[in-house]
Subunit: 551 residues, 2 copies
């Protein structure tokens, strides 16, 4: 009985035919480049002809090492529509990770931006890159680089015919691939089938996702190498929205200019992007009147950012997802009955990771797998499943053992769910401190400690403890002139006000800096390793390091 | 790699957990009945327990013979979630069709409304209904009827436990079933798999569909036995919207009252429903301030209705679909660049069947299968395909031969597509008149003729012609006192103004009435049969009955 397969191609077909003149705009080194969906469609078919000529066929992988621009976008439909897999590589990763990723994915053709060509050449390793039969620089000229065979995009695609008959693909045909950022170990490959990308696209289109319309002008500042710019280019195409790609390393001035010039209505990026823009706005007069919403993901949306955008008449839409989830899982849209709630309540909800989008399911479980109450208090690990959530990693049997539970993905995030259904991440499963059979959120303690003016950075880690399994210790960075003893006292008093006794750190260590991951986050894994075996616990550890009956 | 299966269950799960207090309201014979998604969820599990107790298991079909109310809605999730198929039967069909449908579907349990029980008893036939092991009247008491075994819903479901573990289902598990209305022959069964219903639900949620939000209050006036009330109850659940079911045979007064009392924001139904409401509004003061849009489907939306609702501040959303398409295929949303167009242009677009929704594809072909231009002029048959379009009928090999072309469904509709991508139905494939290798739209001629004040009804049919294959003849109903000769002259002059010479009917026949189908439409098939063999063509048939070079 079943319907036709779920593939990306009809989304492109719709944009090409119903919105042939709608623009696709990109900032490039040579200024703004403008094209239309009609021209874009032709380019995707030229690209498919070129790739076929280079020996790429169904099931092959094609890598990209690029910023956000129209040519990169051409691979988004051009590659999957021909039955191959578009594999976006994060160029900000350490060379070792890039080598691992290319070797693991066995990319046959690799597209690279001129501005990233040197980085790629630096990571180049003949053995790891053995599968790559063609490098294509995304410019008009191929620079002189020690990678080969090397050509430029103009030569590769330019003379190809603009017609190509897309093959009939099945729903489970591999279409995309991304790697997790690998903050804890080797990156893990996640493959996306056609129907995963199809259903993810539909979910983003819904009002419960982002509700994209043809009148929207969508600018993903989130890099296209971050889980396909959160899937936004696919959804924008399906909607017939205008798209704006901000090009290589967009600065706040570029983002502001593009919003103004292109009438951007929705943009999306990590919090630092928006902090940068807000700072820029302090000294510059920018017309943001067309901008309706900014989507914040990749890290928690600070309340101050939500408030400042609100003052500008721009709604912050906080979203959460994972590479394993294509990536969107929750969006913090305000529920109907919160639209008249006090502003503080609204802010609180908008600052959480949000509501699960239709089509997905989740549960929050404790160590024993028991489901926890939705009371905004109890926290446990978040498990999710659904049509666009992967059920395995690419050739990583050991991770497939640990990271999945039946059809459920273990997100590794420790969360609460409130009475309204909003999910809030309180910690990472690796970082949560297990004390006397109960869990303590390291992130919550860190945030509380960092609220003190004399604290520059703080990380709270669990330290092994004979009786209580683990106990929290705070690692703190301060300016040089701070009285550490006094600060410790103040912090202890402050935390005591807010948290149960058994949550209070048993030690306060002052260190020079907190180690960071490749993406700039605190690496508590490194911190734990660095201080392993050292005696970090004070002698007077509490009698009760788990909640007593009356807690 | 693939994600989890696409099933309806997560939509219910989301409503139950994130919107437990959102209301589900129904008009009943005993007044308004109110419940919540939390209670509704429990009822679906009670129902599943009851059905399991009655011997229903995965793959079985459960029939319904009911109006729009909460109990009927309970079967919508309760039956598919347990792996069975919910099969809604149109109680307005002739007895013979009902017998055929029940026998063909082999329903094991059949739910019937008290007000429809007599109709069912009339259609009851021991042999055709042999598969039915249990009849359940959707009231508190089972009336005295000659069908058995018979029980009432209260007894059937009442004492069942409210917990039931929904089985893990695959995407292709049969979940629903409807029959085509059978205007030309036996009804044809269309089965819906879980993923067809899942993807259709997602498409309705998108802004390109109907864009349903949790703040919406949705009232489907379209009967739940018409392709699952166009799938709206599923989409409303996924969105967490409030639902209002207008109960048995809702009159304009009931519809007006429910809109007012329940703050309905979106309603949906066939044109006659809205004509009735508009008439009612002439003499009654009704507060429609919450009503944002009415969805019109099932037949073309008259321009006057669009205009009148527009004056009331209510947007008419014209949609088109088919039983074979779950059913929605197009929605006449205004494109971004038409929002500032002249009102007349907007009206014209909103009156067409609309734009294809994301995820589907279509083409329009002539007799040779050649694709036609999108110019709003050329017309041909519409073919569609996509994840929620069926690829076969239930056990109808001969229809499967003729009604599909590879992965494409032949809709049987003759359409134009304009430059903006709006599809407009100009005729049915069976009714279009093939003259000299070119096509003439019978519907267009009928509409033009019916615009004359002296014409009550008109149907234009193709009559066999030796030289031109077919020629149009107009069958006309007038009031008794009309001068037919004068009228014929006026009509000929009028049509000559608007249409090429070869479109003009070769005959004008005056008859007493035009035969109708079970659903009240003109049955041109019956008309053709009735007048087969009669000489309906005037002697002076035109020299050119196909376009000349200069036409």
């Amino acid at each position: 009985m079943g319907g036709h397969d779920q593939t990306l191609e009809p989304f492109l077909w719709r944009a090409e035919n119903i919105y042939p003149d709608r623009e696709v705009v990109a900032r490039t080194h040579e200024g703004t480049r403008r094209t239309t969906y009609a021209e874009y469609g032709e380019r995707t078919r030229q690209l498919a002809n070129a790739l076929e000529g280079a020996g790429v066929s169904e099931g092959d992988r094609v890598g990209t090492f690029c910023w956000n621009h129209t040519r990169h976008f051409e691979t988004y439909f051009g590659v999957p529509n021909m039955g191959a897999q578009v594999h976006t590589i994060n160029p900000l990763l350490p060379d070792k990770h890039i080598q691992y990723i290319v070797e693991d994915a066995e990319d046959r053709v690799l597209f690279v931006d001129p501005s990233l060509a040197e980085k790629l050449a630096g990571a180049y390793d003949r053995e790891a890159f053995a599968s790559v039969e063609q490098f294509v620089v995304m410019g008009s000229d191929a620079p002189d680089l020690p990678i080969e065979p090397l050509t430029d995009y103009g030569s590769f695609v330019g003379d190809q015919p603009p017609s190509y008959e897309w093959p009939s693909l099945s729903s489970d045909q591999p279409a995309g691939m991304c790697y997790t950022s690998g903050t804890t170990g080797k990156p893990k490959g996640v493959e996306y089938s056609q129907d995963m990308m199809w259903s993810h696209t539909m979910s983003i289109l819904t009002p419960q996702g982002l509700g994209i319309e043809d009148s929207d002008v969508l600018m993903p500042v989130v890099p296209m190498f971050h889980v396909n710019a959160w899937g936004l280019p696919f959804a924008a195409t399906a909607a017939g929205a205008k798209q704006v790609f901000p090009g290589p390393v967009p600065e706040p001035a570029d983002i502001a200019r593009l919003i103004e010039e292109e009438d951007v209505t929705i943009s999306a990026g990590v919090p630092t992007v928006w902090l940068g823009l807000l700072e820029y706005l302090e000294d510059h007069d920018v017309d943001l009147s067309t901008l309706q919403s900014v989507v914040i993901g990749g890290a928690a949306a600070p309340k101050a950012v939500i408030e400042q955008f609100d003052d500008l008449g721009v709604e912050v839409v906080h979203a959460w997802g994972m590479t394993e989830m294509s990536p969107v899982g929750t969006v913090a849209n305000l529920k109907y009955d919160l639209r008249d709630a006090p502003y503080e309540t609204q802010l609180e909800k908008q600052g959480k990771q949000g509501l699960i989008v239709p089509g997905l399911e989740f549960k929050v479980v404790d160590d024993d797998g028991t489901e926890l109450a939705w009371d905004g208090e109890e926290f446990g690990e978040l498990l999710v499943r659904g049509p666009w959530v992967t059920t395995e990693y690419h050739e990583r049997p050991e991770a497939n053992e640990t990271d999945f539970e039946g059809s459920w993905l273990r997100t590794g995030d420790i969360v609460t769910v409130d009475e309204d259904g909003y999910i809030e991440i309180v910690d990472r499963a690796d970082d949560v401190i297990k004390s006397g059979g109960e869990w303590i959120s390291s992130q919550e303690l860190e945030n509380a400690i960092m609220a003190h003016d004399d604290v520059t950075e703080a990380a709270v880690i669990g330290v092994p403890h004979e009786r209580w399994q683990e106990r929290p210790v705070a690692m703190i960075v301060t300016p040089e002139d701070v009285d550490r003893e006094a600060l410790t006292g103040e912090l202890q008093a402050m935390l005591k006000e807010e948290y149960p006794k058994w949550w209070l750190p048993d030690g306060f260590e002052f260190i020079d800096e907190i180690p960071k991951t490749a993406t700039g986050k605190f690496s508590k894994k490194d911190l734990r390793e660095q201080y392993a075996g050292q005696d970090l616990l004070e002698e007077d550890a509490p009698e009760e390091a788990a909640p007593a009956e009356d807690d």
